[in-house]
């Protein structure tokens, strides 16, 4: 039915993309050998000294790595937990609204922040969270002492998690809203005939109806446990909050490009990638096994 020219053309269609990926993804991947070298910048990669796992031992020795690991896990996990609850609650609330223009209006507004870059949002936040910013105005109104939010190790993590949830909750809610509309309306009708009130319908129909979606998304987010959000933290943090806000990605960036510890940085980055990929694979395995989810 299909002759060989079809196949050749298929290969041709893929060729430009494959070559570009080869140049900009595959070739740079050889850079991971730096993790096993005593890398001195300026000397060609293949002429560097090989030191085996020394960089990984180094990583275990320095106290920073432990702190950075803890920060990453804490921030990422908090984002996953709060970032799951808030959209669900929001979706449930919105689902109850019957006036469709109001529904669309709310949706239009809450999706917007998702499309803003962290550069822009950080610019806004730095101004809002400064000593003379809005947040401190509100603080003063309630009689609290003004706080340097972005310089405070107590506040930095809550701010990071809070702003991330603020930015993404609307967008994350889309999937739940889709799942909610997918619930069979006859279930509600049957419940109403049984005299169930709103709350009971929520507990017995709505929540069970979206539970598979919730489980699926939580499972998939397992792959993000090491991703605390480079763009966001890079634009918000400063040396005063390294102890609470420095995450693996920012640490790798600083060690590698600012402190010239290429070997260490690559080793940390490599370790992170490997762990992250294992996590992603586990989560997709779980998702495909229990929720029949397939990405391709």
């Amino acid at each position: 039915m299909r002759n060989r020219s079809f196949i050749v053309n298929y290969h041709l269609m893929l060729l430009p993309g494959i070559i570009l990926l080869f140049i900009f993804s595959i070739i740079p991947m050889f850079g991971i050998v730096i993790a096993f070298q005593d890398f001195i910048p300026g000397i060609r990669i293949w002429e560097q000294d090989w030191i085996g796992l020394e960089n990984f031992k180094f990583m275990m020795d320095i106290p920073d790595s432990k702190q950075v690991f803890i920060n990453t896990i804490v921030i990422a996990t908090s984002k996953i937990v709060v970032g799951t609850f808030v959209p669900i609650i929001f979706a449930l609330l919105l689902h109850e609204v019957r006036v469709s223009w109001f529904k669309r209006f709310v949706q239009t507004i809450v999706y917007l922040p998702h499309f803003m870059s962290w550069v822009i949002l950080a610019g806004i936040m730095v101004s809002m969270l400064s000593l003379d910013g809005v947040m401190n105005m509100i603080f003063k109104l309630f009689g609290f002492e003004p706080v340097m939010f972005l310089a405070s190790n107590t506040w930095f993590r809550p701010i990071v998690v809070g702003s991330d949830v603020w930015k993404e909750f609307g967008f994350s809610a889309i999937v739940y809203l889709a799942a909610l509309t997918g619930i069979n309306p006859s279930l509600y009708e049957a419940a109403e005939i049984d005299g169930a009130n709103r709350f009971r319908k929520l507990i017995h129909i709505t929540l069970p109806g979206i539970t598979p979606t919730i489980v699926l998304l939580v499972t998939l987010s397992l792959g993000n446990v090491l991703n605390a959000g480079f763009d966001q933290i890079f634009n918000l943090y400063n040396p005063l909050v390294y102890s609470s806000g420095d995450i693996i990605d920012t640490y790798v960036y600083r060690m590698g490009l600012i402190e010239n510890q290429y070997g260490l940085a690559t080793a940390v980055g490599l370790l992170k990638s490997v762990v992250a990929i294992i996590l992603i694979m586990i989560s997709y395995k779980l998702a495909s096994k229990y929720a029949n989810y397939r990405i391709f």
Binding site: P41, G42, I43, D61, I62, P63, G256, L257, I258
Partner: protein, 552 residues
């Protein structure tokens, strides 16, 4: 086959590039190769630090400067301005940027990638670690002869004011590989004390530790602020106890016992020792523990959010800080209490009448030249002209942008050069003018201090910035000329391999132990355990590495 595919792709990419018209920038980037003119035709025999080339020489540098608030007249830019044109006119050296960044970390990042990919500008500024890597990778030019032949008197004078402590840092195997910057000296802490409180409690300016202690005691007990409440403290400190260039540290007290925190110094046997582990430190800590117990050292110093609150609230009459303390935190005290009379003095002195201080790192940044650059001497010539220009010693450039408040960083190299005694030199000049009542020999900056001093004399503390200038530039810096100094030289400022790995832990151990001892949470004998522990978990290794590196 593989090769042909890649070549084809490259060819098509290049076609695309030309088509897009964006390629004009790429040519600029192959930095040093552009210098085709043979060096021989360009007067090599002429070893004039300010000599003009016959043929134009291009110099592509890496630059970091935040242009956010830069306002140059006539549409001048950071890369094309009067200074650059002056350099071209005077030296026939055309300076341009291989690349420029707006922030320090963007610069570091860019330097990182350019070094790693060997895509180096002709001249650029690096930190010490990068310098060592560049030398090891053999990418930067040996500047020994260039320095010998082309250094100007001013630049040489600045370097010489540090002895060999600055240039030696850029010297490897007897060869000079960079022009370092300089960090001026005299930033150590001494004692600031409130004369009005002294008068009130009827005491003299103290000189020794014992006298200082009794003054502090009087300040606590005799209600010097006269509010009828026992709410004054002796003196306070940051929890880390010491620190260069920082107010509210206890360095002067450590110094009174010949103890220094965190320095690598030569011991009696000529070996490098770590000052925090020496017996003198134990004595000093024991004294501080005693002072804390007596309540003379602020009971809350370890938990205070901001020690300057005490100063601003005028609850303290003794503060340890550098000569510039009248710029901060002292103005807050004066603002809130016009009677506050802060006086500096070099003390407390040790048993031999000396005031012991350690020196800070005299250099941090290094101007290096690409090994492939044909005219390394052009870099030094530009540095000569630039430095003389910044100091307004070159009539040819002195009037450029006059009165516009243009930052010196607009000159090509962000390399700060000054003599070690710069702060004291200013005092000497000011004092001379004040004594002669003749400010005509002063430049604009000094003239400002001069005027402020007189203004403050007439109307003391009415104008706080004027008070700051008077108190810092005249009273404060005067102390830098004291004959009581005994400067202990730190012999190693770098970071050895083990330090990179373990220094954070070692410092943490040190800081925590010292703080606990001072607070009385641990007995003073804990110090001996600390020394043993410190040596065991890496300290000995570090010292061994340093001794080896220094002997090399």
């Amino acid at each position: 086959m593989q090769k042909r595919v890649t070549l084809l792709l490259l060819a098509s990419l290049l076609l695309l590039l030309t088509a897009c018209g964006n390629s004009n920038n790429t040519a600029n980037n192959s930095s040093s190769s552009g210098n085709k003119e043979a060096a021989s035709t360009n007067n090599p025999a002429d070893k004039d630090p300010h000599g003009k080339y016959n043929e134009p020489v291009t110099l592509k540098i890496a630059k970091n400067y935040n242009t956010k608030d830069l306002k140059l007249p006539n549409g001048d830019t950071l890369e094309n301005n009067e200074y650059f044109r002056y350099l071209e006119k005077k030296l026939n050296v055309k300076v341009s940027f291989a690349w420029q960044t707006e922030t320090g970390d963007a610069y570091q990042q860019k330097i990182g990638v350019t070094i790693a990919s060997q895509d180096l500008p002709d001249a650029f500024i690096v930190n010490e670690q990068q310098l060592k890597q560049l030398v090891k990778a053999d990418l930067v030019a040996d500047l020994t002869d260039v320095y010998k032949d082309y250094v100007g008197d001013l630049v040489k004078g600045y370097y010489d004011s540090y002895g060999d402590r600055v240039l030696s840092r850029a010297t490897f195997d007897g060869k000079l590989y960079a022009f370092p910057d300089t960090q001026i000296g005299g930033q150590h802490s001494f004692t600031w004390i409130r004369q009005d409180w002294l008068d009130k409690v009827g005491m003299q300016m103290p000189t020794t530790m014992d006298e200082l202690e009794s003054v502090a005691k009087a300040f606590i007990e005799k209600d010097p602020d006269g509010n009828g409440k026992a709410d004054t403290v002796g003196f306070t400190s940051l929890p880390q106890l010491t620190g260069w260039n920082s107010p509210n540290t206890l360095d002067p007290i450590f110094g009174a016992y010949k103890a220094y925190k965190g320095q690598f110094i030569n011991d009696a046997g000529g070996e490098v020792a770590y000052s925090s582990t020496l017996p003198e430190m134990k004595t000093a800590l024991a004294k501080l523990q005693e002072l804390y117990q007596k309540g003379i050292l602020d009971k809350e110093f370890a938990v205070r959010k901001d020690p300057n609150e005490l100063i601003a609230g005028n609850k303290v009459g003794i503060m340890f800080g550098p000569w510039w303390s009248p710029y901060g935190p002292l103005p807050d005290s004066v603002k809130n209490d016009m009677k506050a009379e802060w006086r500096p003095f070099t003390g407390p002195l040790d048993s031999e009448g000396k005031f012991n201080i350690y020196d800070q790192d005299p250099t941090a940044n290094f101007l290096v030249v690409n090994k492939n650059y044909k005219h390394p001497e052009a870099v030094l010539k530009v540095l000569n002209v630039q430095t003389e220009g910044i100091r307004l010693l070159d009539p040819g450039s002195a009037d450029i942008y006059k009165g516009l408040g243009i930052n010196w960083g607009v000159w090509p190299f962000g390399l700060q050069l000054d003599s070690e005694n710069a702060a004291y030199d200013v005092y000497v000049k000011l004092k001379k003018a004040l004594d002669a009542q003749d400010p005509s020999g002063l430049n604009d900056e000094l003239k400002g201090y001069y005027d402020d001093y007189l203004k403050n004399k007439e109307n003391p503390k009415k104008d706080i910035p004027a008070w700051s200038n008077a108190a810092a530039r005249v009273d404060g810096t005067a102390e830098l000329g004291s004959d009581k100094f005994n400067i202990v030289r730190n012999v190693y400022f770098g970071k050895t391999a083990t330090m990179q790995r373990k220094w954070a832990i070692l410092t943490k151990l040190e800081n925590e132990t010292f703080l606990k001892i001072v607070l009385g949470d641990e007995p003073i004998d804990k110090f001996d355990d600390f020394v043993k522990e410190w040596k065991k978990i890496g300290g000995d290794e570090v010292l061994k590495e340093i001794n080896e590196e220094i002997k090399k």
